[in-house]
């Protein structure tokens, strides 16, 4: 079908308003927050930015941030997708514990490492399916639907481990987590691969568009022919598998499954990262790169606190204040004031 633009319908021309400024670039404000935190580090800990090669491996606090942030980054990415479709997944911490327990038990059962990995991811996929089914098929509100697995899942993990920390030896899993690929810690490589894959799924297929569409307006999406249930379930599947991968990383890291503590309260950090990256919990947008920035903000904060020598009873207060400042920095009135100042200086 061709539509010739009739003269009467030419888009009206207007005097263009001021060109958009750099500060409207979405990643600007989260990046600014990250930069500020790192700047403070430069003062409190002089060696913070040194990166050396130790035994062929990159070594330094900055690498630690990436390295320690990897599991959270993976979980937060899955969370970003769920939130994009206007959901939320509180169960990721429990799924991490389940993945760790399953993995450990299977290693002890003598299964080959790649098979263990596959089976573990399959179990976390099933966890995601459970969440997705509750939300999409039974129509239970996401917070509550995933709260069920949050509570029960950790119990399941403990049951699998019989309540103890089960340790194991596995070169394969050590390589995945604490090993290195070239000079880069393999965890960072794993996280990067997960990001690349998710980016491809979200931006190189229409899934991302459908997720955002369902998040923005589920009823309109249904009327546009989107299978909203399928889309919703697939977001929880992605989040489940992401948590499973994080579970593998965390469990491999300590070479043991700690069902009580693995991934405890990780869901809050993940949600925090997504929001610090600028996304709205009301859905409609999945920001992949920005989520990573959010994770780096949180992790560099944690690492800075550890490096700074602050007594631990102040950890939470510092975290609260920094999060709060990041939020303020991203709040519209403050943004306008700040960019107004920058603008005024430049003109």
């Amino acid at each position: 079908m061709r539509l010739d633009p009739p003269a009467a319908l030419q888009a009206p021309t207007r005097r263009p308003a001021a060109a958009p400024k750099f500060s409207e670039w979405r990643a600007f404000w989260p990046l600014l927050a990250l930069a500020l935190i790192l700047l403070v580090d430069a003062f409190i800990s002089p060696g913070f930015f040194t990166i050396r090669l130790v035994e062929g491996r990159l070594y330094g606090s900055l690498i630690d941030i990436l390295y320690r942030g990897a599991p959270t980054a993976v979980v937060a990415l899955g969370m970003a997708v769920v939130i994009g479709a206007r959901g939320i997944d509180l169960s990721v911490g429990a799924v991490i514990a389940i993945a760790g327990a399953v993995m450990t038990e299977l290693i002890h059962a003598g299964m080959s490492a790649p098979a263990v990995l596959l089976a573990t991811l399959l179990v976390s996929l099933i966890c995601g399916l459970w969440n997705g089914a509750l939300v999409a098929l039974l129509d239970i509100q996401p917070i509550i639907a995933t709260l069920i697995l949050m509570v029960a899942g950790r119990g399941v993990a403990q049951m699998i481990d019989a309540g103890t920390i089960v340790t194991f030896r596995s070169d394969f899993f050590s390589a995945i987590s604490t090993g290195r690929l070239g000079p880069a810690p393999s965890r960072i490589v794993v996280a990067a691969a997960v990001y690349a894959l998710t980016w491809a799924a979200m931006r190189r297929t229409a899934l991302g568009l459908f997720v955002e569409s369902v998040g923005a307006n589920a009823e309109a999406s249904r009327l546009t022919g989107i299978d909203a249930k399928f889309v919703t379930i697939s977001t929880y599947l992605i989040s489940g598998v992401a948590a499973g991968i994080a579970g593998v990383l965390i469990t491999s890291d300590i070479r043991g499954s700690d069902a009580n503590n693995a991934g405890l309260w990780m869901e809050l950090d993940a949600i925090l990262a997504v929001v610090l990256g600028g996304a709205s919990l009301n859905g409609g947008r999945v920001y992949i790169f920005n989520t990573l920035i959010g994770v780096l903000i949180i992790q560099s904060l944690t690492t800075s606190i550890l490096v700074s020598g602050l007594p631990p009873e102040y950890n939470l207060i510092v975290k609260a204040i920094v999060v709060f400042l990041c939020l303020l920095l991203q709040a519209r009135p403050v943004r306008q004031a700040v960019s107004g100042m920058i603008w005024a200086k430049r003109t």
Partner: protein, 498 residues
């Protein structure tokens, strides 16, 4: 009654990338209906949002009775007697009708709300508009038109001195419009200043005393209605003369022939729609006419599978099919452009481009994403073809003006190129220029072999493009008029017949 005169002086408003208003002066006198006209995106809604405290302005002043006032919230505007009905229904669907009507002015006893009295007040307020509905049901359970009437009833509170109505008649049919106008005349006589935005020029001449025309955010003309003949008005709005509107007859309706693309037998749902039959051939435009609540929207939704039918059979190309969800309908080549764009049509956070390609993309499935270049092209083609006023295709659609949003939904379904297209109130809120073009478009689509089912409250429009008209009354199809016989009066008669 104390009456107020509202003056807006030098109002400017910028949005990122758009100058919505540029130094606009306007004054609203008591005892006058003042029509605010202009193309889609001209800045009408923005102007009244500034005047009612819903938006902040970048420059200019608002004066009431000569005194500057700072209206920083709608509550502040209401406090000085400005009542408004905005373009989109801005009420709360989850609350009861009574709660909506009485919000912030609930009758209280000893400081506590008396809900019984509130319901009573609500019934009285609705009675003025001739609406009698159960005021304790949630507002969202009523049709868009009823919701609009409730919004109007809400704005008509006793202490209102300035009444602002942004396209109040867009979803009303002739009977309701008459009723509303009678009330407006009464209010005018009592000295209210009334601001009235519409795209129906005949309504302007029926009711307005004075006209102001906006174009591209500037005031381009103003004066008493009597001094502005329609042709002049239109060219003021558009910036040039409207091309001669084509003859108001569908092209040789003989085109519609062959096997029906879509045929519906005894389709119905209890309490919603009595079973009905429909047939659509390639080249057909079947108009759905009826009064408010007669079941036009429900008919459309049943055919599209958006509401569940409990009886009946549908055939596509003669083959029996089952349509139980919009997805299935779309797979069979049916498209549906809903009436309530805010709730059922748009993804407000998504960009214009994404909103436009969405239906086409769902048709292709999630694996075969349209490339960025294809998306760009489709979107910019449609933006040009329908004259969607937006600085670029990557603007969130929520930032477009109402009429332009409507065009985006139309564009979405046009690019998906269905064989059967169902349009529910397709021209709601669309300006004169675009209106003529959309009517022409419907006729062209039908000439190209698409089958259309169009529900509309505008009889003239239905007459202009339909090859056949189905008339509905009380959730039942009561007549079908076809061929050269389609005349406005026939339809009116069929609607009115007992």
């Amino acid at each position: 009654m104390q009456t107020a005169k509202v003056e807006l002086i030098g109002i400017s408003k910028n949005f990122p990338g758009v100058v919505a208003l540029d130094n606009v002066d306007i004054a609203f006198q008591p005892g006058e209906v003042h029509a605010l006209l202009g193309e889609n995106g001209a800045g009408k809604s923005t102007l009244i949002k500034i005047m009612t405290g819903a938006l902040s302005r970048d420059a200019g002043a608002v004066l009431i009775n000569g005194k500057p006032v700072e209206l920083d919230s709608p509550a502040a505007a209401q406090a000085v007697g400005i009542g408004a009905v905005y373009q989109e229904v801005n009420l709360i669907p989850s609350l009861s009708v009574a709660a909506n009507l009485t919000l912030e002015r609930q009758p209280r006893r000893f400081g506590f709300i008396s809900w019984r009295k509130a319901a009573e007040d609500a019934r009285v307020a609705l009675k003025r508009l001739d609406v009698s509905i159960d005021v304790e049901r949630p507002l969202g359970s009523y049709s868009l038109a009823i919701q609009h009437l409730v919004a109007i009833a809400r704005a008509l509170r006793e202490d209102t001195q300035v009444l602002v109505l942004d396209e109040p008649t867009a979803s009303l049919d002739a009977r309701e419009v008459e009723r509303l106008f009678a009330i407006l005349r009464d209010l005018k006589a009592r000295g209210l200043a009334i601001v009235f935005i519409t795209h129906f020029l005949d309504q302007v001449y029926q009711i307005a005393d004075r006209i102001t025309v906006l174009r591209n955010g500037r005031r381009v003309g103003a004066g008493p209605t009597s001094a502005l003949p329609q042709v002049e008005l239109v060219s003021l709005m558009l910036g040039h003369e409207l091309q001669a509107v084509e003859e108001r007859r569908p092209p040789a309706e003989a085109k519609a022939e062959g096997e029906p693309v879509l045929s519906v037998k005894e389709l119905g749902a209890k309490r919603v729609m009595a079973p009905f039959d429909l047939e659509l051939r390639a080249g057909d435009v079947l108009g759905l006419a009826g009064l408010l609540g007669s079941g036009r929207t429900e008919t459309a939704k049943l055919v599209f599978g958006a509401s569940a039918a409990d009886s009946g059979a549908i055939r596509v190309d003669g083959k029996p099919v089952s349509i139980r969800s919009p997805r299935q309908a779309i797979r069979l080549g049916i498209g549906f452009c809903p009436e309530d764009r805010k709730r059922e049509g748009l993804m407000l956070e998504l960009t214009v481009r994404e909103n436009i390609i969405l239906a086409l993309q769902t048709k292709r499935g999630w694996l075969r994403l349209l490339s960025a270049a294809e998306q760009e092209k489709i979107a910019s083609d449609m933006i040009r073809a329908l004259g969607i006023a937006t600085p670029d295709a990557d603007k969130p659609v929520g930032q477009l003006s109402g009429g332009n949003q409507q065009k985006v939904i139309l564009a979405r379904w046009l690019v998906s190129n269905p064989r059967v297209l169902i349009l529910d109130e397709p021209t709601r809120g669309i300006d004169v220029g675009a209106h003529a073009e959309i009517v022409a478009l419907i006729r062209r689509l039908c000439a190209e072999g698409m089958a259309l089912l169009v529900a509309s409250s505008e009889l003239d429009e239905i007459v202009a493009f339909s090859t056949r008209v189905a008339v509905l009354r009380d959730r039942r199809k009561v007549a079908e008029i076809s061929g050269a016989k389609i005349e406005r009066d026939d339809i009116v008669q069929a609607i009115a017949a007992p």
